[in-house]
């Protein structure tokens, strides 16, 4: 089983950056006013932040991490590892983490790594960074998680355009022998890969003239093979079945009582239909399940750190320990569960650029 109990690693802080530009569902030309209203009510994503074309995920992650480093009082040369988790890096090559090392003025001794893992991105980055840090040979790591997912798809694809928002987040991790363990578990079902994919542009189907040829799939979906697609019903069916079952198994194995032992459940903010259903299946108390999808949409891997910044900032900054149970699911298909026990986090106010 892909399971870790990561010791000696403390989350020191978390920051998030979003574009200033707000796009309401009613602003999306693909929708009639009635459809926009139905979408807001059903899917629950009423607005999202969309970056201008010259702003990349790495820019927002950089802004978040610069502010976080400043508020933590960490010198840049003290950062031993930088992980950039995104499916919307600056270039196909080189790794964006290497570009960020230079742009941010980090040390040449900094270990830099890209992870393109989608909606479970925060958990993947935590798993890798946690395992890098726990031996104590390196002391500090930055996890940068962000995406500009809208621009991966067709702007004529009604099934995808309204779902995503843009954001960049940063988490600061530090070696600390007094830290409470971070517990993480992962699962993968690659047989479902076609539910969330970009057919052309890799080396299986390189980019050609054919990649640009649009097809009308009906129901408001027009896209070309270069565009990322989402098979809504397949993703929905996956998201409401496997992740909640894994959360249940995780709690049973760890002896976690959902009513007594967890302060907040952070569920990947895919859409309201999915999150509501996960809540219902797990019989979670609603006051322990923060949502921010109505304001920011699906932020991919940045969903969980963005919840920490936008909905739990005051509590997580306080002296009170806060126990978080997180559930993510997405590309691959992959899904994971993570338990965090945190306190006194440094959390700058939400940054807008």
């Amino acid at each position: 089983m892909a399971f870790w109990r990561i010791k000696n690693v403390r989350i020191a802080g978390v920051a998030a950056c979003v574009p200033k530009n707000i796009v309401r569902t009613s602003d999306i030309e693909l929708f009639t006013p009635e459809e926009a209203e139905t979408f807001d009510k059903t899917v629950g994503i009423k607005q999202r932040r969309i970056a201008p074309a010259d702003v990349c995920a790495s820019d927002m992650c950089q802004a978040a991490s610069e502010r976080l480093l400043s508020e933590l009082g960490w010198k840049k040369e003290s950062v031993d590892a930088l992980i950039f988790e995104s499916v919307t890096g600056d270039y196909r090559t080189p790794p964006t983490a290497c570009l960020l090392q230079d742009r941010m003025g980090l040390s040449e001794n900094c270990f830099c790594l890209d992870l393109p893992m989608g909606c479970c991105g925060c958990m993947y980055a935590m798993t890798v960074a946690g395992n890098l840090l726990q031996a104590g040979t390196i002391k500090r790591a930055l996890l940068l998680v962000g995406d500009t997912a809208l621009r991966m798809g067709s702007m004529k694809d009604k099934s995808r355009v309204p779902l995503f928002g843009d954001a960049g987040t940063a988490m600061a991790l530090e070696y600390d022998e007094n830290a409470k363990p971070v517990v993480i578990e992962f699962h993968t079902d690659g047989s479902g890969y076609k539910a969330l994919m970009t057919p052309h542009g890799g080396f299986r189907h390189p980019f050609t003239a054919e990649s640009l040829v649009e097809e009308d799939f009906g129901h408001g979906i027009v896209r070309a093979p270069m565009h990322t697609l989402i098979e809504g019903m397949s993703v929905f069916s996956f998201a409401i079945s496997k992740p909640p079952r894994s959360v249940q198994d995780f709690m049973e194995r760890e002896g976690i009582d959902k009513d007594q032992d967890i302060d907040y459940f952070l569920i990947h903010q895919a859409n309201k239909l999915i999150v509501d259903r996960v809540v219902k299946k797990l019989k979670l108390p609603l006051d322990k399940v923060p949502y921010n999808l109505e304001e920011f949409g699906n932020l991919g891997g940045a969903s969980i750190p963005s919840l920490m910044v936008t909905r739990l900032r005051e509590r997580l900054q306080s002296d009170n320990p806060t126990r978080l149970l997180c559930s993510s699911f997405g590309l691959g298909l992959s899904w994971g569960t993570m338990f965090l026990d945190v306190q006194r986090l440094v959390i700058p106010e939400l940054i807008e650029i």
Binding site: T38, F39, T42, V43, K158, S159, G218, H219, G220, I221, G232, M233, S234, F236, S237, F238, I240, S241, L273, K280, K281
Partner: protein, 80 residues
Amino acid sequence: MSENIKKLNDIFVEVFGEVSDRLGDDFSKENVDEWDSVHQLNIVSLIEDNFDLMLDPEDIVACTSYNASKDILRKYDVEI
């Protein structure tokens, strides 16, 4: 018309507008252009709320026509 059929028809009217006259064998994802995944999930949510059910994922995916919704309700022992 049974009470449950009326409840189901009201759900389709709420989701698709005034379609009472069209609800029959041909009312399906293939024949109704507005029937996208949002509409389908909306139907499912309303069926669950109105009939006090929790549908399995495979039934949610299979709910692609008016007739299919009736079959699914029967599967959950709803008289229809």
